[in-house]
Amino acid sequence: MFGCIFLPRFRLQAALRWHDVRGPAVVVNETTLKGIVAEASEAAAAQGIVAGMTSAQAMARIRGLVIRSRSPAQEQCLNQILVQTALALSPDVELCCDGACIADLCCVRKGTCWQQLADEQVAHLRTHGLSAVMGVAPTPDLAFLAARGARPSAVIYDPGAFANSLPIETLEPPEEFLRILHGWGIRRVGEFLALPKMETIERLGPIAETLRRKVSGRNKRLLRLVRLMPEYTEAFDFDCEIETIEPLLFLLRRFLNGLCGRLRTVYRVAQRMVLRLPLENGDCHDRAFSIPAPTADVEVLFRILHTHLENLKLPQRPVSVRLSLQAVAPTRDQLQLFESALRDPNRFGETLAKLKAFLGNEHVGVPARSNTHRPDSYVLQECFPMPKQKREDTRVPLESLRGLPLRRFRPAISTLVCVQEGRPISVKSSAVRGVIRSCAGPYRLSGNWWDCECWQQEEWDVALAKGGLYRLSRHDTTWNIEGCYET
């Protein structure tokens, strides 16, 4: 058997997904100035609005008609949800058109009630806010036809009886072909199938055979399999620019509810989150969040976003929002039941986010030496992924390190230095002054001689007579106090 999950009025559902619209509504293609109606809701269709009308004509027919433009981002999201739902049933899935997905149900356990299976899928998609229908039939094409007529699910056991009752228009024949059939008085598929096969093909051409195959219960064509990596993305375009954080948070929580539900369905957790806020001037605010302990917990993910947003200042107002999750399998390196690398890695991640929001990204991190001898060169690494706690001893013997660590003045303090016989003998600055009792140096450093960022300096370690160990540096004739070892 094959199952087809179908989203009726796909474009309209996509455009209205995050809106609370109860009255008649239409979705329009904005490729032309007039705005052509692409799909109309049931209430709008009942009042005579059909696809192809201009939006002005539609508004003339219904007062208070809600008009939305198509949302390609949302349409993509819905297709992803549809494919993912179908992949939960079978690995062999075809996305036959926007909003329709066919799955080969040969892998489903024997004895499964098809009706119950279809109802479950419809109910599952309802949890994502989607109105879906599903048809189950012996062939892919019949399943698609069954789904289009299902309310909300239909199982076809007798293909012949099902096909006979269908209007001939459901096969979507070419217009010329349909006109000929209507001229012959043929209105139902059954009447078309009753015509002699060879003579029909001789008169109408190969299209007649194609249509026959569509409704044949024995034509199990090969599916055009979908092998897409499932994306976990939600997006929303605001009607007007937003100025406060509340609507954004409200939407993000709804996004996370849906996305985490999808992750849990396939036993995955989120490892990375990407938030994108397109601004009214065309720029984008992008921020990627690494999740310290990958999870599908809505609260944890929402707190990370909330912490970031409450401290965020944007130069322009956002016009839309997009949230993507990167899914991974749950971690396998299990420690003991109540033991993990950090006590609560996700809480630590939030703490780091708070610190970075408070002090700036460039002021918090794990330090590392940069690949140069240039003084005061370092890099701050992203704090995650933190290395796992291992019990092996990673101590560096203190014997391998010599001397006192420097405490650097940032910026260095400019100073006057008296020099005698090439050695500094006294120092005088706003912070430090005194006679130099002893000194060590000079330690000459240079680098980047091969490019325009060439640098060189001379360093001295000095001990003042009144106490205190300092590092002095000289660039040409300029002296600076770089830092101190002991004050």
Binding site: R264, Y267, V269, A296, D297, A329, P330, Q334, L337, F338, L342, R343, D344, P345, R347, F348, T351, K354, L355, F358, L359, H363, V364, V366, P367, A368, R369, P375, Y378, C383, M386, P387, Q389, K390, E392, T394, R395, V396, P397, L398, E399, S400, L401, R402, G403, L404, P405, L406, R407, R408, F409, R410, C439, A440, D461, A463, L469, G483, Y485, E486
Partner: protein, 219 residues
């Protein structure tokens, strides 16, 4: 594969449930952290869940941080280092040491106190070091006394070792205060760091007491 993943997710759910049903009760932690550095270990190490103030020599503070990072490498934990004056110099440290340090650059006393508050409330890092040694005395005097009492209350349930490096006695009613004195000279710059402790003397004072010399200096 999926059944294995589902079991892991169930395990995570169980962990959350247990953590929710049986939250850790606040308790006073009496453990001590031994750094492997004899002058401090002989005095009993650093109290967990309490503030330890280390005042006096700036070089002593740097060496103490080195000893703590070495202990972090030994026991596999991380250290939060709140650098109030942005004076930490990574090039003087080994890569293995640097990997154990979360460096928080603040630039002044007020943000350093706020950063310490955030890190201590988190409770994930077993050791947090607040370095105030390079700050001017005027900034240090503006830190409200109540700050330290608040930190003490925050620390008690977490068992974090919180070390405040200061030039002079600063933390009121601190459980343990250590004073480091030194006569280190330029010759010491060629000695291994482990051997440098021979040039330092460490005194320990219980319950807020302070060495007279340092009190006179701060006055």
């Amino acid at each position: 594969m999926q059944s294995h993943d589902s079991r892991l997710i169930q395990l995570e759910a169980l962990r959350s449930l247990v953590a929710e049903k049986f939250p850790r009760s606040p308790r006073r932690c009496n453990g001590r952290l031994l750094t492997g550095c004899r002058p401090f270990d002989q005095k009993g190490g650093f109290l967990q869940g309490a503030i330890t103030e280390v005042c006096g020599s700036g070089a002593g503070g740097s060496l103490l941080l080195a000893a703590m990072v070495n202990a972090a490498g030994r026991d596999g934990f991380f250290i939060g280092f709140i650098d109030a004056a942005n004076s930490f110099e990574p090039s003087d440290w080994a890569d293995e040491h640097l990997r154990r340090i979360l460096w928080v650059m603040c630039g002044a006393a007020a943000p350093a106190i706020k950063a310490a508050d955030i890190l201590l409330r988190d409770g994930n890092l077993p050791v947090v070091v607040l370095d105030l040694q390079m700050l001017p005395a005027a900034q240090l005097r503006r830190i409200p006394v109540s700050t330290w009492h608040r930190f003490q209350r925050v620390l008690e349930p977490t068992g974090t070792v919180f070390v405040v490096l200061s030039p002079n006695p600063l933390v009121e009613s601190v459980p343990v205060r250590m004073a480091i004195h030194t006569d280190v000279s330029l010759e010491a710059m060629h000695l291994p760091r482990a051997a440098l402790w021979e040039h330092f003397q460490v005194q320990v004072f219980e319950r807020g007491a302070a060495p007279l010399a340092l009190l006179q200096k701060s006055a």
